[in-house]
Symmetry: C3
C-alpha cells in the first residue's frame, strides 16, 4: 500500500473577453493504492487543494470529509468509489473535448446534474459510484444520500432530504463507443450557511453520447434532454454538441461546438459556445497549449476569449 505524489502546473496569459491577464497555478496530487490478501485492489486520490476549501464560498468540500477526491475498492464484484467521483451519467458519457490552457470556462462540459461537485454540496456528503464491466459493456450507478453534514452521529438533526441518483451504460468496441445515462437531482440553495437548504422541484435528464476514432482523429457527439429548475419553476432543458481532436506528430488540434436551450416562464434561453485549441508537445511532460473560444448567451453576452502558455506534468 503506497502513496505516490504527482504534480502539475501551468503558466501563461488569458484574454477573458475584456482584458489580458496572467494565469498560473501549481498543484500536487496524492495517489493511494493497495491490494488485499484476497486480490481486491483499493486506493484513492486527492489533490492538496482538495483540502483547502473554507466554510464559505465553495461549501467546505474537503477530501478528509468525503466531499472531494475519491476512495475506491475493486474486485470481481466491480468497482465501488466514494467521495467526489463523476456521477453515473458523466462516467458513462463524459464531456466534449476541452480546449485551451485554462479550460476557457469549461464550456465543453455537459451540464450534468449529479456527482463530481454537482447536486447537494457540503462536508460529510460523499457521492457513490458503482461500475461493472462485462465484455465491451460497462454499467454505472451513482447516488448521494442527500444529507448535508451527514456521515456523523453527533448531528443527525442536520440531515436533510433529497437524494441524487444516476445510471449509465457504455458500449465500447474497437474504435467506437456509444453511451447513455439518466440522472435525477433535487435542486438546493447552498449559498452561505450549508445548513440552510431551499428545496425546489426535482430535475432530471437523459444524456447520450458517441465516440468514433479514425487513426489519429477522434470525433465525439453528445445530446442531453430533461427538466431543469430555474427560479420560476421546472422547465424543459436540452443541449447538444460535437467535438473533435486530431494529432499530427507533436501537434494536437481540438475543437468543439455546443448549444444549450433552457425554457423559462417567459421563453427559451439559448446559449451557444465554440472552442478551438492547439497543443505542441515539448517532451518531458511539458507542452505549449493555447485556445480560442466564443460564446453567444441569452443574457446578451457575446464575446471572444483565449489563452496561451505552457503546461507541465510531474
Amino acid at each position: 500500500a503506497d502513496v505516490a505524489v504527482r504534480g502539475d502546473a501551468r503558466m501563461g496569459v488569458l484574454y477573458d473577453g475584456n482584458e489580458w491577464g496572467f494565469t498560473s497555478r501549481a498543484r500536487v496530487q496524492f495517489n493511494l493504492s493497495g491490494e488485499t490478501d484476497g486480490g481486491l485492489t483499493f486506493g484513492g486520490s486527492f489533490r492538496v487543494n482538495d483540502e483547502g476549501g473554507a466554510n464559505t464560498g465553495d461549501g467546505r468540500r474537503l477530501a478528509s470529509e468525503g466531499s472531494r477526491g475519491t476512495v475506491f475498492i475493486a474486485g470481481p464484484f466491480g468497482r465501488l468509489a466514494m467521495g467526489a467521483p463523476a456521477g453515473a451519467a458523466e462516467a458513462a458519457v463524459g464531456d466534449l473535448h476541452e480546449v485551451g490552457l485554462t479550460g476557457l470556462g469549461f464550456y465543453n462540459e455537459v451540464n450534468y446534474l449529479t456527482g463530481d461537485g454537482d447536486g447537494i454540496r457540503g462536508p460529510w456528503n460523499p457521492t457513490v459510484l458503482y461500475s461493472y464491466t462485462f465484455g465491451d459493456v460497462t454499467f454505472y450507478a451513482s447516488a448521494s444520500d442527500g444529507r448535508d453534514r451527514g456521515g456523523r452521529v453527533e448531528n443527525p438533526a442536520l440531515s436533510t432530504g433529497s437524494e441524487d441518483y444516476g445510471v449509465g451504460l457504455a458500449w465500447a468496441a474497437g474504435d467506437f463507443k456509444i453511451a447513455a445515462g439518466f440522472e435525477s437531482s433535487q435542486v438546493t440553495n447552498l449559498v452561505g450557511d450549508p445548513a440552510v437548504l431551499t428545496t425546489y422541484g426535482r430535475q432530471e435528464q437523459w444524456v447520450l453520447g458517441g465516440d468514433a476514432t479514425f487513426g489519429d482523429f477522434t470525433l465525439r457527439a453528445i445530446y442531453a434532454n430533461g427538466d431543469r429548475s430555474v427560479a420560476a419553476g421546472t422547465f424543459d432543458y436540452e443541449e447538444y454538441g460535437i467535438s473533435g481532436s486530431a494529432t499530427f506528430d507533436l501537434i494536437t488540434v481540438t475543437a468543439f461546438a455546443r448549444e444549450t436551450r433552457q425554457d423559462t416562464a417567459t421563453g427559451r434561453n439559448t446559449n451557444t459556445y465554440y472552442g478551438l485549441g492547439g497543443r505542441y508537445d515539448l517532451g518531458g511532460g511539458a507542452a505549449l497549449v493555447g485556445g480560442i473560444g466564443y460564446r453567444d448567451l441569452a443574457d446578451g453576452t457575446d464575446d471572444t476569449y483565449g489563452d496561451f502558455g505552457v503546461t507541465f506534468r510531474f
Copy 2:
C-alpha cells in the same frame, strides 16, 4: 532528515440514529524525522487537512501556525513536543477502546480539558508536552501559554491570560498499566472572532486509568473527577468507563461503556454511552470495520446508531 508520506482512507455507510447515509474520506500524513550529530532525534508530523482550517468554524488551527500536528525533539533529557500533542493527562491515561468505522461520535473518549485541540484554541498557540521515561514509569507534563494569537511579535496586544496545564504518570509493567493525570484549564468562548474571549472560572480534573492484557484480550477502565464550567457556574463533574478488545486470528471485537455526570444549578445531568465494534483484517492494509452505538443523554436523546465499511492504510 526525511519526509515520509503516508495515507489512510475509508468508505462505508452510517446510520446516525435518524437516517442512513454514505461516509468516506481520504487523508495523507507527513512524517518528518531526523537526527543531530550528537544523537538527538527530532521530527514532526501533520496531515494535509491539518492545513485546511479556515478562520471560522474551527478557529484556524493549522500545523504551519503551531496549532495542529506536532514537532518534537528527544534525547537523554526526555522528549519535548509542541503543536497539538495530547495533554499530559491524556498522554498518560488515554481513552477507552474506539468502535466503528467513523468513531461513532468518539464517545469512547474521555472529556479531557487540555491539549490535543482542547483548551484555548487559535493560531500561533501551541501546546507543549514533555515526557520522561525511567524504567517502567513515564512522567508527563503539558501546558499552553494561554495566549490566543501569541507567538508573534507584531500583535502582543492580542495576548490573553489563562494558561492550561497538566501532569501525568504512567506505570507499565508486562501486561499491566496504571496511570493517573491531573489537568486544569480556563474555559473560554471562542465562537466567531478568536480575539473575543469570554473567561469563566477555572476547571480541573483528576483522571485515573488501568489496562490489563490477558493474551489476545485487553481490558481497560478509566475514572475522572473534577469541576467543570457550564453557563451558570462551575460544578462537580465525574465520568467513568470500561472497555475491552479481543482478537481472534483476523477478527477483533471491541466494546465500551461510559457514563458522565455533570452537576448543574438545577440538578445532575447524566449521559450514558455504549459501543460495540468489529474488525476483519483483509490484509495489505485493508479491513472491514463496523460498529453499533447507543446513547441515553440528559437532554432526552435516546438513540442507536451504527456504521460499516472498509478502511485502508497506505
Copy 3:
C-alpha cells in the same frame, strides 16, 4: 519530471514585548522539476499551507489559483516565473539579514511594494518575474496584471484596473554585489470582500543595496526612497538599513539596524528597528536559534522582544 517533498519545523519560546509564550510550526514543501526534450528546465514549488488560505483574512491566496508558490520555465531566453515570486526590486536587492527563531516581526525586510504577497491580492492573480543573467549582471522585470479574480473567462466583470510593475539590476562579482530596483504599485483596500477595491494614488520607490563578503563575514546595506500612500494622501517615504552576518565554525551571529521615515499630512513618522541573532548548528538539519529585537515606533511603541528554540530541516 519529479515531485520532491521537503519539510521544515521549529519549536521554542517567544517574548513578544509583553509576555512569554510557546511557538512551533511544521511545514512541508513540494518542489516540482522537469526538463523538455529541447533542454528547457521547468518546475515550481509551494508549501502545503500555500493551499490553506480561506476566503477571508488573507485574501484566498492559493498555489492552485496562482496566488502562492511559483511556476517557472528557464532556458537560453532567461527565466520566467509566475505565481507569487518576489517582485523585480526585491529579487535584485533582497532584504537585510534575518534574526531569531520566528523572524521577530521580520523587521529586517524592506517594505517592497510589489510581488511576493504585496500589491493586489486575491485568487487567480499571479505576479510574473522575468530574469536574465549575462556574465556578472542579472536583469529582473516583474508585473501583475492588477486584475483581482482575473485569469478566468467566467467573470470578466470582476477585473479591476491598476497594474503593479518593477525592474531590477544586480551586479555580482566575487565577494561584492551591488543592486538597484524600481517598483510602482497602486494601493488597494482588500480587507473583507476581495471584490471591493478602494483605489488610492499610485506609489513607487527606488531601492538600492550592496553586499560585501570578507571571508566568513558578510555586510549588507539597503536604501529605499519613494512615495507611499497613507489615508490622507501620497507622501515621501524613505528607509535605510545595514546588517551583517559572521560565522565561526558552528556558530553564526547576525545583526541588523533599520529605519523607516514616512511623511504624512501632519509630520514625519519615524520607526527604528534593531535585531541581534545567533545560531548554533547541531548537524543533521537541526540548529539552536535565538534572537533579540528592539523597536521604537512613531505610534509610541517602544519594546524589546526575543525568541529561542530549535529549527529543523527535512
